[in-house]
Symmetry: C2
Subunit: 343 residues, 2 copies
DNA sequence: CTGAAAGCGCTAACAT
DNA sequence: ATGTTAGCGCTTTCAG
């Protein structure tokens, strides 16, 4: 019972009086092996419960068939759905997926990226932490020509493939939508604007205001980390202004939700008195009361696309490399939180 | 620029005119190496941008410092939060985590488990697919004495550590709670009862009815896969009974939510006319209207516990093995969907 | 169609 | 305190 040591190709070779190379080739369906011996070998392998040692193969071939993913938080719906998309495609193509979360800490991100490299992933897919302001830890990938894809939160200065949505357009359309609904003073709650996503959403917001000849007042823009607490703090702060806003475009749905909860508790009616638009279409946004207008990112599709792209890169390493930035379509989902009859 | 080949310990050894073993030992802080040479070696390693080849080390040491996780779906809140817990502890202990999703398909689960084995994970943590009815694919782990932990959806017949919640008690207390609130005819929507979780919840439900001298009618129990569609189908079916129920205990929050949506659309008031209790405390359950009473499983904690347990097993393999089943505490969270004034 | 031999990069007895 | 040697299990020239 206690099989101390695993069965290897050598065990099979010995029993069948062939060489290990023959066994290896047979199991890999190498055409140079006769059908007869192939069958013999495969049969015995099955009988002995042989399981190939991927580690050994990896070492020899310098390929791990493994894709690394580094995200800020695994259990955020956008990221877990993205990962699910990657995993789907990767599995189909015979790749494994190894995952870590940076917890939005630059230090942990660095450690993880290092570890991914040491584990010799064939490619790395990543979305940056909120703290990431230098990119040296990715150099080992670019230097060694190991495929690297950024998604959502990207490093603009690095040469790599990128998968994003048009955050500027999102910010613009969210804001324009609120304007169209007749809201007059529109505030914005942003995340850390070192990140392209939050930066671009804010620029879109500003641009829509400008286009509509509305002033972009500094008071109306707040930056924080967009947690539930942050959302509550922000709305309190905004309501305390001597000239408070009547609508907010939030950098994510979580903060939008906490604003709604607070506004309701204050007896402020949504959308009649106050309009809200969030971002990223969390599962709760559809079912909360009032339901939250938001921008939907195609998370699963982005993951699939990232996987396809990186696998293609991995398997055509010889080809001259061209880096693309793929912009995926988003959708403004209009729900109750912004749907008042135009004033 | 094009560093064709990576820098290895041999490169460092050659330049420093020492042996590769010395380099290896130095980098691993082996006490047998003098402080002076250690520093020399580490400095050069840094300068050359040396990154250890984990694959080679893994092959040699027969340890991968990798924990495999197989769950039905990565982007389900319970699972992604569990994974996050595992990853936290694993990272601290110097372990990597590799993840796959079975998509609730037995065939895919088998493939994945095989692949995890071939990748020589040091241990495997898994929650079974809805289809899993044989367990042969786990034998290679038990046979070779590779730590294996089941959580949530477990294989009762296998010798392994198990991390669960007391689903029976959950079903019981959910049902008792509805009875306490004065609901008279309580239905149950269950998942596939081949799985311990759904089976036990149903038994708890039945037991509570029996204890309160309420009949457990077959008509009032429906089994399906608990999707949103399934929830809607189920509530329609229940309402169509000649003697319909006035409350339902649902096997998950998703189906509970879809019932609520349907009941509202029919003008049936919750909780006044109809009571609902769900399961697993999805993020939306707290914020939907009415908010959903549910049972909270400590997903993150379960993940942490699983990681601690498996790492302990991995690092004390020599010790005689004893298998434990750890039951984690749950919490009945009473919210609006079941909080009517007692009739 | 098959075998022999070398080696991926690292570690760990066993020397000295 | 350091070096020598062998080998983890597999793949892949190169030979035949």
């Amino acid at each position: 019972m206690e099989e101390k040591t695993s069965v290897t190709i050598h065990d099979i070779a010995r029993k069948l009086r062939v060489s290990a190379s023959t066994v290896s080739r047979a199991l890999n369906d190498n055409p140079r092996i006769s059908k007869a011996t192939k069958e013999k070998i495969k049969a015995l392998a099955l009988k002995l419960g042989y399981q190939p040692n991927t580690i050994a193969s990896n070492l020899r071939t310098q390929k791990t068939h493994t894709i690394g993913i580094v995200v800020p938080l695994i259990n955020r719906h956008f990221f877990s759905t993205f990962i699910s998309g990657v995993e789907d495609v990767a599995f189909e193509a015979g790749y494994n997926v190894i995952i870590s979360q940076s917890k939005d800490l630059l230090l942990k991100e660095k450690q993880i990226v290092n570890s991914m490299f040491s584990n010799r992933v064939d490619g790395l897919i990543t979305s940056l932490s909120m703290q990431t302001n230098d990119f040296d830890h990715f150099k080992m990938f670019t230097n060694k020509n190991i495929p690297l894809i950024f998604f959502d939160r990207i490093a603009p200065q690095l040469e790599a493939n990128k998968i994003i949505v048009d955050d500027f357009a999102c910010g613009y359309s969210a804001t324009q939508h609120l304007i169209d609904k007749g809201y007059q003073r529109i505030a914005h709650l942003a995340g850390p604007t070192v990140l392209n996503t939050y930066h671009d959403r804010m620029e879109g917001y500003k641009s829509a205001l400008k286009k509509n000849h509305l002033p972009a007042e500094d008071d109306l823009i707040i930056c924080n980390r967009l947690t539930r607490m942050d959302g509550q703090e922000a709305i309190k702060q905004l309501l305390a202004l001597k000239n408070p806003p009547d609508a907010v475009f939030c950098g994510n749905d979580t903060s939008a939700l906490s604003m709604i909860v607070y506004l309701k508790s204050q007896g402020i009616r949504i959308p009649e008195d106050f309009g809200i638009v969030g971002f990223s279409n969390e599962p709760f946004s559809e079912v909360v009361t009032p339901s939250i207008s938001t921008l939907k990112q195609p998370a699963q599709e982005m993951g699939r696309k990232a996987a396809e792209l990186i696998i293609n890169e991995i398997e055509n390493k010889a080809l001259p490399r061209t880096y693309q930035t793929i912009t995926m379509p988003t959708e403004l989902i209009i729900r109750e939180s912004s749907s008042r009859k135009k004033a």
